[in-house]
């Protein structure tokens, strides 16, 4: 490893910023390079000094204003805000459900209209068939109507009224 690369690697001092292999390479380089070791020591002291600098305290009024804003925000959150939050959380799932619903609904409608058309056709065919059968019956045979005796008409087997005998 060259010094230029090593110096860059020195900056990556947080966990997970370097692989174990990179760390080993850096350590090997530092073991051999006094300049890079000195650089690391300087930077560590400098960054430690920068981190150690205390901050001025935050004004109580500033903190109070933040808390007030937080309270107002909570108070403004009504059911509609809660609903928006739920919608926002479940947005992808709701969108997917809506698309699915539309697809299923559309598919069902399409299937139903086709079966309706089939039903209409079969009914027409059956009605036509019945019509043809009726027509055939009325033209060829005695027909249904002819076979039914008329109540008003007398039948042959009725005995005639006895004639008066002249004695």
């Amino acid at each position: 490893m060259k010094c230029k690369m090593a110096v860059r690697q020195l900056l990556l001092d947080q966990p997970d910023e370097q692989t174990a292999w990179q760390q080993r390479r850096l350590e090997r380089h530092l073991a051999d390079c006094a300049d890079c070791r000195a650089q690391r020591a300087e930077w560590r002291e400098l960054t430690a000094a920068a981190r150690a600098a205390a901050l001025p305290p935050l004004a109580a009024a500033t903190r109070q204003r933040i808390m007030d804003a937080g309270r107002r925000a909570l108070a403004e959150r009504g059911p509609s805000a809660r609903f928006r939050r739920v919608v926002s959380t479940w947005q992808p799932a709701l969108a997917a459900a809506a698309v699915l619903l539309l697809l299923v609904g559309g598919l069902r409608l399409a299937t139903k209209s086709r079966s309706n058309a089939d039903w209409d056709d079969s009914v027409d065919q059956q009605l036509e068939h019945i019509g043809q059968t009726l027509a055939a019956l009325s033209s060829d045979g005695p027909g249904i109507r002819d076979s039914v005796p008329d109540e008003a008409e007398p039948t042959w087997d009725e005995s005639p009224e006895p004639e008066e005998q002249i004695i």
Binding site: L11, Q14, E45, R51, A54, L55, P56, L58, M67, A73
Partner: protein, 195 residues
């Protein structure tokens, strides 16, 4: 994002105002420290700090990122840039002349590193680092502040600055070299390594 922060965010979303107080305190040091490094007065820093939280509260419902501090830093960064653009006389990002003398917020930063004996001897490095930082280009100062105050990974800083990680590493490298040059004498006195 730390586990307690996650818990406090969830609690605040459920209506617990105390959780917000915990969040503000938990992120006070990194966030306020970063803003202080990027501005020149405590008053400006407090204004921006407050505004960051106002915005965070307003958009907390839509917050989805993994790193809450990084999210806060992004809001703060935008506010610092806006303020620098609109109110240059009050906040400046790279005004070398103004940083020649200690600014009010620098003067108010006590330094814990060297200890009381060194403070008594006038070897207080903290304000000098702060003053030297003001002479850095804003991009370098920003990387330094995000790393030192927030401990953000370089990958995250690169994302915030919309640049590559190599650029960010180079900025940090140059910042350290320049600070080292600026603080050469103070640093040697402080570390006691070389005189």
């Amino acid at each position: 994002m730390g586990q307690p922060a996650k818990k406090w965010i969830a609690a605040y979303r459920q209506g617990d105002i105390e959780a917000l107080g915990c969040l503000v305190e938990y992120y006070r040091r990194p966030l306020f420290g970063f803003i202080l490094r990027m501005t020149t007065s405590v008053a400006d820093a407090e204004d921006i700090f407050q505004e960051v939280w106002f915005r965070a509260i307003r958009h907390l419902d839509s917050y989805r990122e993994k790193n809450f501090l990084s999210w806060l830093f992004r809001i703060a960064r935008n506010l610092v840039i806006d303020r620098a653009r609109h109110a240059k006389p009050r906040v400046h990002l790279a005004d070398a002349e103004a940083a020649a003398e200690p600014t009010p917020w620098e003067a108010r930063i006590p330094f814990r590193g060297p200890g009381p004996d060194r403070l008594a001897q006038g070897h207080d490095l903290g304000p000098r680092i702060a003053a030297a930082l003001q002479r850095l280009p804003p991009e370098q100062r920003e990387v330094f502040a995000m790393r030192m105050e927030g401990g953000l990974p370089f990958k995250e800083i690169a994302r915030l600055q919309a640049t590559s990680i190599n650029t960010v590493l180079a900025r940090m490298h140059y910042a350290l070299i320049k600070l080292r040059q600026e603080l050469k004498k103070d640093y040697e006195d402080f570390s006691g390594v070389r005189t």
